[in-house]
């Protein structure tokens, strides 16, 4: 069964992560993104880490001990997505979580191999899931997010780190082809944990579409097009649904060369040199068409290596790296389809084949003895094939004995099989994707005797409350008929956390729950721990690290791509408060552009009497559409307060809008370090929207102004009958115009409906052109409850010498 990771999966994941919080209702922090999402080995990369419900006391971890990760300070304020916003039915989609960001550095030694490095964060409320930072080896470029036109990419191949930072954002890059031939663009977004379902569009200088790729499956997009020497091309990247926010990061690799889609065989035996057929776009002729070439490939002999990246050299450039499997099996390629009966194999053996006959089923047979343990795997996704394979084992009379469609975490199939009798068995490979006719639609069947061995699995993160206990459950999967005991040991436990001395998974058990106990005076710290298992198998001591399924790669080719050997243990503290809105989850009426004073009750727990800070939660309800709330301090001794929810003037009257709030307190841990304890305010502040109380407009739709002069904008004010306060007018300009346009605020008394608002334009060469400035009017019917309306004026600024008199 093919189950692509979708955006809804991400939401479900986030919701699950938060709802899985312990019963004392801490708000566990979550991981968001890193931008740029990658960097070159041998460099130090300045990044912005983004996360949800992060506190100033976050700790950060790199799961690769060779790579250092350090933050430069506490996370900044919560970031509300800017316009544009979705309205109508899309306005009711769940909001993407609201991040906080912190500056940090990845220090990557030059000998760090290319690939993903996982990182995590934790505070006294728990640990986050893992994120991915990609170490590269080639030219790395970071998107210029302030540019106004396409970004020039002058050297290729290059990997561009970018992000679709807001709804409807389109990133454009311009390249010039150095020579005629294929150019390949590959997008990595899902693979680095991004919600971006990317679209790549390549257009030539005339605007004609040269190539297009859409990531409808959540597996990342790639496109190859033919470029003419010296010609310019624009590569556009956007989201399939025109979504976007700060977490929509990506890496776009642009490589002058063809693209490999499949290899036959899909792997090779360690140390051997053999012929491999590569199927791809332009690999033989340079034209963008499916074709194949053969090359002699030498596979590494290192027993620790299970795959290798291979860049196919062609007269038109080297392809992006293609992954080939490396193992101990004899690798063969499926011969022409047999007219009758299955193809006989001599395991241990692997065969790479295509399901290209009229019936998308391939059959293989092999001989087995009664009681033999066999491991049979069919890979497609793992080798980059679009097939969704299924596997069935049949006995002598064709009766199905065992079958598998998907292994955990992949659409590939596999199973362990014990032969019930001496005889010949059939492995039947089929496909459920319907893509079996594609030339790149290959599979690899591997059949081998299952060796006596074991695998240990642990959760990737665990929280232990100070003074409490948590179970770290270690699961054992024994293979090859081996049934012995497994002795466990833990490494890296932080001070104050203890585990029992004797840890053994008994022969008749498949798991052990290790009770981790945090002393009452334990420091609320976090650490990466590891679990190792040791067993005697056939008289040999065998050790295995426990693996944990990490996050961060939403489109893994195999489950192993998400496996790590470390678990983040966070020692947490009990929350010191709880709370709820007085009108919890019930609908209140609020005006557009006004600030709704929602009453909130807070409960002080564990004898806590200090100040409580209320702020916006990362998880909101529908699309936020610019709804904001400040940080509000609830002083010592106070249990009832007002949380002001600002509702922008563009909100729909037909939609229910909500505000989620968290409460944070500061408490020192056993070592005196001040920890920030976060608890959710239960339920939402819920509002339906009515018309605005204040509306600003301006008399002229366009103005033409000379730089170095001042000018007036006639502003009209419309007030609702119940708004009696004066309105303060202020100028708001985009960041790039800061200092170039200035204005003194003006206060318009109640009853006055029009006013001239004077603006001064600097005599600055950066100013000429069409510009938009915004005049904001603010009334204060009550302290801290502003009513706001804005009007945006479009002005053409002309250099003083050319301005009309």
């Amino acid at each position: 069964m093919h189950v692509p990771f979708t955006r809804s999966f991400w939401f479900a994941f986030v919701v699950l992560a938060w709802t899985a919080a312990p019963s004392w209702a801490q708000r566990v922090p979550e991981l968001g993104y890193v931008f740029p999402p990658g960097g070159k080995a041998g460099t130090t990369i300045e990044v912005r880490l983004g996360g949800y419900d992060w506190t100033p006391d976050m700790d950060y971890f790199s799961l690769d001990s060779r790579v250092q990760l350090a933050a430069d300070g506490p996370p900044g304020p919560i970031l509300i997505p800017p316009p544009p916003y979705w309205f109508g039915p899309k306005g009711r989609l769940p909001a993407m979580p609201l991040p906080r960001e912190v500056s940090a550095r990845f220090v990557i030694p030059s000998d760090t191999p290319p690939g993903p490095v996982r990182w995590q964060a934790a505070n006294a409320n728990g640990g986050t899931a893992t994120g991915v930072f990609v170490v590269g080896t080639g030219l790395e470029i970071v998107e210029d997010e302030q540019r106004s036109g396409p970004q020039e990419i002058t050297n290729l191949p290059a990997t561009i780190s970018g992000r679709i930072i807001k709804i409807e954002d389109i990133d454009r890059y311009r390249i010039v082809a150095a020579r005629s031939g294929p150019i390949t663009c590959e997008l990595a977004a899902r693979r680095i944990g991004s919600s971006l379902h990317g679209v790549i569009e390549v257009r030539d200088a005339s605007g004609k579409l040269a190539a297009e790729a859409l990531d409808t499956e959540g597996l990342d997009a790639a496109a190859t097009f033919f470029a003419a020497a010296g010609a310019g091309y624009e590569i556009a990247v956007r989201d399939l649904d025109h979504a976007g926010d700060r977490s929509f990061v990506y890496q776009l690799s642009v490589t002058p060369g063809p693209r490999v889609l499949a290899a036959l065989p899909a792997g090779g035996r360690r140390g051997e040199t053999r012929e491999v057929e590569f199927v791809g776009l332009g690999v033989a002729s340079g034209a963008v068409q499916l074709e194949s070439v053969k090359r002699q490939v030498t596979f590494p002999s290192d027993p620790a290596v299970s795959s290798m990246d291979y860049a196919l050299e062609t007269p038109f450039g080297a392809t992006p790296a293609f992954s080939l499997l490396v193992g101990d099996l004899t690798e063969i390629v499926e011969s022409a389809p047999a007219t009758t009966g299955p193809t006989k194999l001599a395991p241990p053996q692997a065969v790479t084949g295509r399901l290209d006959g009229p019936s998308p089923v391939d059959r293989y047979s092999w001989d087995a003895k009664q009681g033999e343990h066999w491991t049979i795997a069919v890979d497609a996704r793992r080798i980059g094939s679009p097939l969704d394979v299924a596997l069935s084992i049949r006995g002598a009379e064709g009766k199905e004995l065992v079958a598998n469609d998907d292994l955990a975490g992949t659409t590939d199939a596999g199973l362990d099989f014990v032969a019930p009798a001496d005889g010949t068995y059939e492995a039947v490979v089929s496909d459920v994707s319907g893509r079996n006719q594609a030339p790149s639609a290959v599979y690899r069947l591997a059949i081998r005797r299952a060796a006596a061995d074991f695998v240990l699995e642990v959760p990737q993160r665990i929280n232990v409350l100070v003074g409490g206990t948590s179970n770290l459950t270690v699961k054992a999967v024994r293979r090859g008929g081996w049934t012995g005991p497994i002795k466990l040991s833990l490494a890296g436990l932080p001070a104050g956390i203890q585990a029992p001395a004797e840890l053994v998974i008994l022969p008749d058990k498949s798991e052990l729950a290790i009770v981790l106990a945090a002393a009452p005076d334990a420091v609320a710290s976090a650490a990466l721990i590891s679990v190792q298992g040791e067993a005697q198998i056939d008289g040999q001591a065998v050790t295995r690290w426990a693996i944990a399924a990490a996050g961060g790669n939403l489109a893994p080719r195999s489950p192993e791509e998400n496996h790590v050997a470390k678990t983040l243990l966070a020692c947490t503290m009990k929350p010191r408060c709880a709370g709820r809105p007085v009108d919890q989850d019930t609908v209140r009426k609020a005006h557009r552009g006004a600030t709704f004073p929602a009453e909130v009750l807070v409960d002080r727990l564990e004898g806590f009497e200090g100040p409580i800070v209320l702020g916006m939660a990362a998880v909101q309800s529908y699309q936020v559409q610019g709804i904001t709330g400040p940080e509000v301090v609830v002083p010592r001794g106070i249990t009832r307060t007002v949380y002001p929810c600002f509702m922008p003037e563009w909100l729909e009257t037909i939609r229910t809008s909500r505000m989620g709030v968290i409460a944070t307190v500061q408490v020192p841990d056993a070592r005196g370090r001040v920890r920030h304890l976060v608890a959710p305010i239960k339920g939402f502040i819920t509002m339906t929207i009515e018309g605005a109380l204040l509306k600003l407009s301006h008399a002229e739709s366009e103005l033409h102004v000379a730089t170095g002069s001042s000018f007036a904008v006639r502003v009209k004010l419309a007030r609702a009958a119940k708004l009696h306060e004066p309105v303060r007018l202020e100028l708001r300009v985009p960041e790039e115009l800061a200092g170039l346009l200035t204005a003194e605020p003006v206060e318009i008394p109640a009853g006055q409906t029009e006013a001239d608002f004077r603006v001064t334009a600097a005599a600055d060469p950066r100013l000429p052109g069409w510009r938009k400035l915004t005049i904001r009017g603010t009334a204060l019917p009550a302290p801290d409850l502003p009513v706001v309306s804005e009007t945006t004026v479009e002005i053409e600024f002309q250099a003083a010498a050319t301005a009309p008199r």
Partner: protein, 447 residues
């Protein structure tokens, strides 16, 4: 054709006889009429009765009002049923209403409470569709299309088609945004609501469609219109269809509006005195109700007001007490009194209801959930006998204990009061007959 007094949740199967169907179909075929022409066939029968109402103002409390806390109090029920609100006496001896509807209580002699409305659709979007069309939807609850009635026409569209335009003011208007079940269905864009997409409570409220574009004079606009007509008539003999027809309809509507002083006046809510505006309440519902009165004065036939926020599954009583009930109480009472004072109440039918009621039992989150089995509906004006309480519910306001009144009953009664022939049937573009009312009866005792 006789009116059938059956339980009207069931469709009216006898509306067209086979003989009549053959007659309709045969005449179409013999005359070489196309299906669109067949759609125009009307009048299988006629009531011939004089209309009691010239217009209808439909206050739709979206989400489902808790009428057990408004119009059907159960003070003897346990606290988890009756809730915290007390009943108060009204101007009709023996009739009590909720304490947060004091303004309506004072004019209870001017309206009638129907306490036995009941149906079986407990969804928002599905219930909205059902109420506005009289037909159960073919989609699951949660549909977000606006409008969601793709096939069946809404009440307003039927009114628009049957009664037509009185003046240049559109005959069917939605305030302050489109009603989800308010579309024209297969009737087509000609009978779609005019939607202003602006809340009249806003101080800058205006209908931009009524304003000429700066620099374009009335004469210039007329010349443009004539040029457009000339283009459209070049291809003679082929009536516009599909999107072209829809666009022609929009142009027609827009031109009529822009060039109409009546329309501009009707929408000019700023012309009302501050005291009048305050009387209705400076709320969305209040100002929509006031604007609706102006629109009816200007010639509109059916104003549908969508007032959202009634879906309170959690902590319902603060919401009702602080916002929803005061807004609805003030808006409704001001509208009825204002219409009465202006001599318009007899000719204007006012209906206030939601797509469902709410559960009698307060839930664990101090809210009330969806409950379509019992809802009170308020009727005023338009030939309705005032000062009555019709129907009754059981001790918990859970089920009617008198003959239940269905959606179809309400629609049939509404149409009759507007003088619409409730026995008419139109054919969809695929030839399916759709009666304008899917059964129903005149609500006994209401008119």
């Amino acid at each position: 054709m006789r009116h059938e007094m059956h339980r009207s949740d069931q469709p009216c199967r006898e509306r067209i006889t086979r003989r009549r169907m053959l007659h309709v179909g045969g005449s179409g075929l013999l005359a070489g009429l196309s299906l669109p022409r067949l759609m125009e066939l009307e009048a299988l029968a006629s009531t011939g009765e004089q209309a009691k109402a010239q217009a209808c103002i439909f206050l739709f409390l979206e989400g489902g009002p808790s009428t057990i806390d408004m119009w059907d109090m159960k003070p003897e029920a346990p606290i988890e049923i009756r809730g915290p609100f007390r009943p108060i006496a009204s101007s009709v001896p023996g009739t009590f209403v909720g304490e947060h509807c004091p303004l309506s209580a004072r004019i209870a002699h001017k309206f009638t409470i129907l306490r036995s409305h009941s149906h079986t659709d407990n969804g928002h979007s599905t219930g909205y569709h059902y109420l506005m069309t009289g037909y159960k939807p073919d989609f699951a609850d949660g549909e977000t299309r606006v409008p969601n009635n793709v096939l069946y026409p809404s009440i307003g569209s039927i009114v628009s088609r049957e009664l037509g335009r009185r003046t240049s003011v559109p005959p069917y208007i939605n305030l302050p945004h489109p009603m989800r079940g308010g579309g024209p269905g297969f009737y087509g864009s000609r009978f779609a609501p005019f939607v202003i997409e602006s809340d009249p409570v806003q101080p800058d409220f205006e209908v931009k469609d009524l304003r000429l574009v700066e620099g374009v004079s009335r004469e210039r606009l007329d010349r443009r219109r004539r040029m457009l007509d000339a283009f459209e008539q070049r291809d003679t003999g082929r009536p516009a269809s599909g999107r072209a027809e829809a666009m022609a309809t929009y142009y027609e509507k827009a031109h009529t509006l822009i060039t109409s002083p009546e329309a501009r006046k009707a929408f000019d809510i700023q012309a009302e005195s501050e005291s009048t505006r305050a009387r209705y309440g400076h709320t969305s519902l209040g100002q929509c109700a006031l604007l609706a009165r102006r629109l009816v004065q200007g010639g509109c036939r059916f104003v549908g007001i969508d007032h959202s926020g009634w879906d309170s599954h959690f902590t319902i009583f603060p919401s009702l007490e602080k916002d929803m009930l005061p807004h609805a109480d003030r808006a409704f009472s001001a509208l009825v009194e204002d219409l009465d004072e202006r001599g318009m109440l007899d000719s204007t039918l006012v209906v206030m209801m939601g797509e469902m009621g709410r559960t009698p039992r307060v839930n664990a989150a101090a809210g009330r959930d969806h409950w379509s089995m019992a809802q009170s509906v308020i009727f005023a004006g338009g030939g309705v006998k005032p000062g009555q309480v019709l129907g009754a519910t059981d001790k918990q306001a859970a089920y009617p204990v008198t003959d239940p009144v269905s959606i179809q009953d309400i629609l049939r009664t509404l149409f009759q009061q507007l003088g619409i022939d409730t026995t008419k049937t139109y054919l969809t573009p695929l030839g399916r007959p759709v009666p304008i009312v899917n059964g129903g009866r005149i609500i006994p005792g209401l008119v």
